[in-house]
């Protein structure tokens, strides 16, 4: 058996989509920080790799209609450097990914492509109600982030489709992200939590990572907080302990964690409640500081 692999290098998005349509088994490679691990561990042997590194359309971001259209291959380093003001939750999450080397290569398109429940970009995307833009030679469609994840490492992406961008609403209030790991960096989350407050519409968004088969929202917690937060008197001391506690419990209740090597289900629930309480306090402090 001779082992060989085609390396397809499109120079434009149109060419990339054509190649993907013609080679639905070709594995897209962006930063390669997940793909190369799988190849090195011989977990898969695709017949072809589709290199997205030379597709200019995927490597830029721009503001458009109150949202940021963030190209699939914009690396985390640039998200941290350039989008901290408009997408603070995603930038905070990006800062916790891997190491500087990983953040220089990897981006949100690959995180979504892998669709791991532990992907750190997912909670802020859920909390802000982002859309995923996907394209094929058949056309372009947007998938609400809540419908993108179908199961562990499974997504709504069809075989001929690529993620082209995420459309993330510009922050309309404080955002937070918090993650617990088995060490302080270079670590897959034991659990993580993203929070986005919209002080204009008076809504609360949540995203739970690494505590279920897919990244989750805590809808009951969102509704509860939107209703009871004292939006009219945003001072640090107006967020009561009871509100924070109830919010934390509702977030924990929304999780569907399992026991694994990184942590037990019970710990994950417990920690999520703490992270949710804390991030709500931090965010509320920011509201009052504005």
């Amino acid at each position: 058996m001779v082992v060989s692999m085609d390396f397809l290098r499109p120079a434009s998005l149109a060419e990339a989509l054509e190649l993907k349509a013609a080679n639905p088994d070709a594995v897209p490679i962006a930063g390669g920080t997940d793909v190369m691990v799988e190849l090195n561990f011989d977990k898969r042997r695709p017949a072809a790799l589709l290199d997205l590194g030379r597709v200019p359309e995927l490597a830029t971001w721009r503001a458009e209609n109150g949202r940021v259209r963030l190209g699939a291959t914009v690396p985390y380093t640039r998200i941290v450097d350039e989008l901290g003001d408009v997408l603070p939750g995603l930038a905070m999450a990006a800062r916790t990914v891997g190491s500087p080397q990983i953040r220089n290569r990897a981006g949100v398109g690959g995180n979504l492509g892998s669709a791991s429940p532990a992907g750190d970009a997912h909670p802020p995307l859920l909390a802000t109600g982002a859309d995923v833009e996907v394209a094929s030679t058949r056309g372009t469609r947007t998938v609400p982030i809540g419908e993108f994840f179908l199961g562990p490492k499974r997504s709504a992406l069809a075989a001929d489709e690529l993620v082209t961008a995420v459309l993330v609403p510009v922050a309309a209030g404080p955002q937070q992200f918090a993650k617990v790991g088995t060490r302080n960096a270079m670590v897959i989350a034991v659990c993580s939590f993203g929070l986005a407050l919209d002080t204009t519409r008076r809504t609360v968004g949540t995203g739970i990572g690494s505590a279920g088969p897919v990244p989750l929202r805590a809808a009951a917690a969102e509704d509860f907080a939107a209703e009871v937060l004292p939006w009219d008197e945003p001072a640090a001391n107006t967020l009561t302990d009871d509100t924070a506690k109830e919010f934390g419990e509702l977030v924990a209740a929304a999780a569907r964690p399992i026991d694994d090597v990184r942590g037990s289900a019970a710990y994950r629930r417990h920690a999520l409640a703490v992270l949710a309480r804390r991030t709500l306090r931090w965010a509320w402090q920011d509201v009052s500081g504005r």
Binding site: V2, T182, M186
Partner: protein, 723 residues
């Protein structure tokens, strides 16, 4: 003497390393070389019943697939070959991940792919993988390297009975792996009956001995080359079976062959820190004077060897306790051989330093004060006085720098908002060895010096410190001295393990450099063409490559001038055996614990040491940073998980075998007493590398107790144990 010794000069090999010029074991290009890949057993105990290599052989590029059916008999070497058998000599399987076939191909990728295609069937037997499943089989192993596993001083049983205060507890730690960043690599090049090995070896002279026994070849026919190592931590100290098998295979196929282990293979091919349990019973007076220590440990052994590598040295020798009974038991399991892993004495020392903290708490005595009260001013086991020991200074220096006096001893008493703060400390100590070492120093006709020794650079700064000492004694600038290591063509010298390198090698280096200086001065003063002609040799000083008459600096010659006139190099040798001993220190640790998330951070580490004379403050501090980082890993993360049913390692990679990253490691302060040990022939320096870190796991556990009131005795202290 130009004041170079002690200075924190930068690594002389730093540039080569950061530019990629340094050649590591797998970097040497050998014409005609083939690549090997090992096939490892997938069962832990049993017999090979079928071995089908046809699919592998059919793959393009594959030259041979060798198994026990093809290899010539190899003799089982003695120490430092640690396994009780050589694999691929018969059908028996002793552990999961044991070599059963060796594939040789034109490229590494072809060899690896073919290795996947070798079909092996086994008659598997049920393995035992954990101490807990065979504790009733614990036994006192026979002598290992001439050392017993039982030590008795006084009558510990009776003293314990009579003690006013007693602490009895169990302490334990899991299997751990060295994980140097450079994987093991061996390249065998045969020329008739002579063998050259490009090797990742911490002890090239030892490797030569092992290979000589296995192949029944004279040592003179074997050359081992290992100029740089990407870390070893003990994993490359012993010689492991891949080296022997690869050399045998290279001989069979008649071409040079290289084998490089994969990261996963490094979890079964090259030793590990044994799973370990320990029962400790301390007896003491109400004032905290130790009267008895009964120390019974149980370590994992195999069915084919019985080396206990994590000895209770500190129980025996650290504190002044008249009655001690140490027993180092073992249990035979179906796992690969364990071995020495960085600071092996840490394994036992963790329990002792934790138990002392428990005793201090029970008595209401400050933990530092308790250690001072039990300080040994002569070796408690042999009764011999120390040639020098400044441990009490270490406690004082580190405690003051840390601010220990401000510690409120009540557990849970120190807080920072929601965060609980804990302060803990421990004594640090490790044995160092001394190994007969020889060097050769050449002052060439250009007036520059080259030093050769068959020791090696494990990454700690050996090239640098040797160069410093030689340049200092010669009176030359650092750049005029080149040190060549890692080749058995040079004079035999120490292995880079057991904290032995500096202690063993520096004596001969300084002796050779002195002799070379004297020889060149003698040439100059005897030479009518030299400005120094006729000056008494003892009145000539050497500085920066020049030779001056003392008191009349106008009369000046140089190494370059003297050697040019001489017309041929001056060659001298140095040879010395130092004595072994212990280095001491103290470590103080602050932890910050978030009780809601059970997250723990080591936020501050302050240390002080007595390693005798410090030869290079920068490399010594580097050892402290490394040791403390290892201690943090030992305490909080490192854990090789073994499946109890299959006896297989389930986390053989660096994404699931966690070690600390920068974000887990605070900056580490280190202080040195820096007074020469007059008993050391290495310019007063002692072996030091493995001392830092030995106390860190206990200090962290003691700090956790101080922060939370919870006493943890089983590492790693993961979140589930803290919640």
């Amino acid at each position: 003497m130009t004041g170079l010794v002690g200075r924190g000069v930068a690594r002389v090999d730093g540039r080569a390393k950061v530019t990629g010029a340094a050649r590591y074991a797998a970097d040497h290009e050998i014409p005609g070389m083939l690549h090997g890949h090992l096939v490892l057993s997938t069962v832990a105990r049993g017999e090979i019943t079928e071995l089908d290599t046809s699919a592998a052989l059919a793959l393009p590029g594959v030259v041979a697939v060798l198994t026990h059916r093809d290899l010539p008999p190899l003799r089982v070497p003695s120490f430092p070959y640690l396994k009780g058998f050589v694999p691929m000599q018969d059908t028996r399987v002793h552990h999961s991940g044991q070599p059963v076939a060796h594939v040789v191909a034109e490229t590494p990728e072809q060899a690896r792919e073919a290795a996947n295609l070798v079909r092996v069937r086994y008659r598997a037997e049920r393995p035992t993988a954990h101490l807990a499943h065979a504790l009733d089989e614990a036994f006192l192993p026979p002598l290992f390297r001439d050392e017993p596993n039982e030590f008795v001083r006084g009558d510990a049983g009776a003293a314990l009975e009579a003690a006013a205060v007693r602490v009895e507890q169990d302490y334990s730690s899991p299997m751990m792996h060295h994980n140097p960043i450079e994987p093991h690599s061996s390249t065998a090049v045969w020329d008739g009956n002579s063998l050259t090995l490009y090797e990742s070896a911490q002890g090239i002279v030892f490797t030569r001995r092992v290979v000589s026994i296995a192949f029944d070849l004279p040592e003179a026919n074997i050359r081992i080359i290992s100029p740089y190592l990407g870390g070893g931590f003990g994993a490359k100290g012993p010689t492991w079976s891949h080296t022997l098998l690869n050399a045998a295979v290279a001989r069979e196929v008649g071409r040079p062959v290289r084998v490089t282990l994969t990261r996963a293979q490094m979890y079964t091919m090259n030793g590990h820190r044994a799973e370990y349990r320990r029962n400790l019973r301390l007896g003491a007076t109400r004032e905290g004077r130790l009267t008895a220590i009964v120390d019974t440990s149980t370590a994992q052994l195999t069915r084919t060897d019985h080396g206990v590598y994590n000895t209770s040295e500190s129980t025996l020798r650290l504190y002044d306790c008249p009655n001690v009974h140490v027993r180092q038991l073992g249990v035979r399991l179906d796992l690969p051989s364990s071995s020495y892993m960085r600071s092996p004495e840490t394994t036992a020392h963790f329990g002792l330093e934790t138990a002392l903290d428990e005793l201090a708490h029970e008595l209401g005595v400050d933990p530092v004060e308790l250690r001072i009260r039990n300080h040994a001013s002569a070796d408690p086991h042999s009764g011999e006085p120390y040639s020098s020991k400044h441990l009490l200074d270490c406690y004082r220096i580190a405690a003051r720098a840390f601010g220990w006096a401000r510690r409120d001893p009540r557990p849970g008493s120190m807080r920072d908002g929601n965060v609980r703060v804990g302060w803990g400390m421990a004594t640090e100590t490790h044995t160092f060895s001394a190994i007969q070492s020889n060097v050769e120093l050449t002052v060439d006709v250009d007036g520059r010096a080259t030093l050769r020794a068959a020791t090696q650079e494990i990454g700690t700064g050996t090239y640098t410190v040797i160069t410093q000492v030689a340049a200092d004694e010669l009176g030359m600038p650092l750049e005029h001295v080149t040190t060549l290591l890692g080749d058995t063509a040079y004079p035999d010298a120490a292995l880079s393990a057991a904290s032995a390198t500096v202690a063993s090698v520096i004596g001969p280096v300084s002796q050779a450099a002195q002799d070379a200086r004297k020889a060149v001065i003698a040439l100059a003063v005897a030479d009518p063409r030299s400005p120094l002609h006729g000056v008494p040799a003892e009145d000539v000083v050497a500085e920066r490559g020049y030779l001056f008459a003392r008191g009349d600096r106008g009369r000046r010659d140089s190494y370059r001038g003297a050697l040019a006139r001489h017309g041929r190099p001056v060659i001298v040798t140095g040879s010395r055996l130092n004595s072994s001993g212990h280095s001491y220190g103290a470590v103080f640790v602050e932890v910050r614990f978030d009780p809601r998330l059970a997250t723990l951070r080591v936020s501050r580490v302050v240390t002080a040491y007595d390693p005798g004379r410090v030869l290079n403050h920068r490399t010594a501090h580097g050892q402290v940073i490394g040791g403390v980082t290892w201690g943090i890993g030992f305490a909080l993360m490192e854990h090789t998980m073994v499946d109890p049913h299959t006896a297989r390692v389930v986390n053989p990679n660096l994404s699931t075998y966690l070690v600390p990253v920068s974000a887990d490691t605070p900056s580490v302060e280190s202080f040195f007493v820096d007074r020469p040990d007059k008993g050391s022939t290495a310019l007063g320096a002692r072996g030091f590398g493995e001392t830092p870190g030995t106390g860190v796991p206990a200090a962290i556990g003691n700090a956790i107790f101080h922060a939370t009131g919870r006493r943890l005795r089983d590492v790693p202290f993961t979140r589930d144990k803290l919640l």
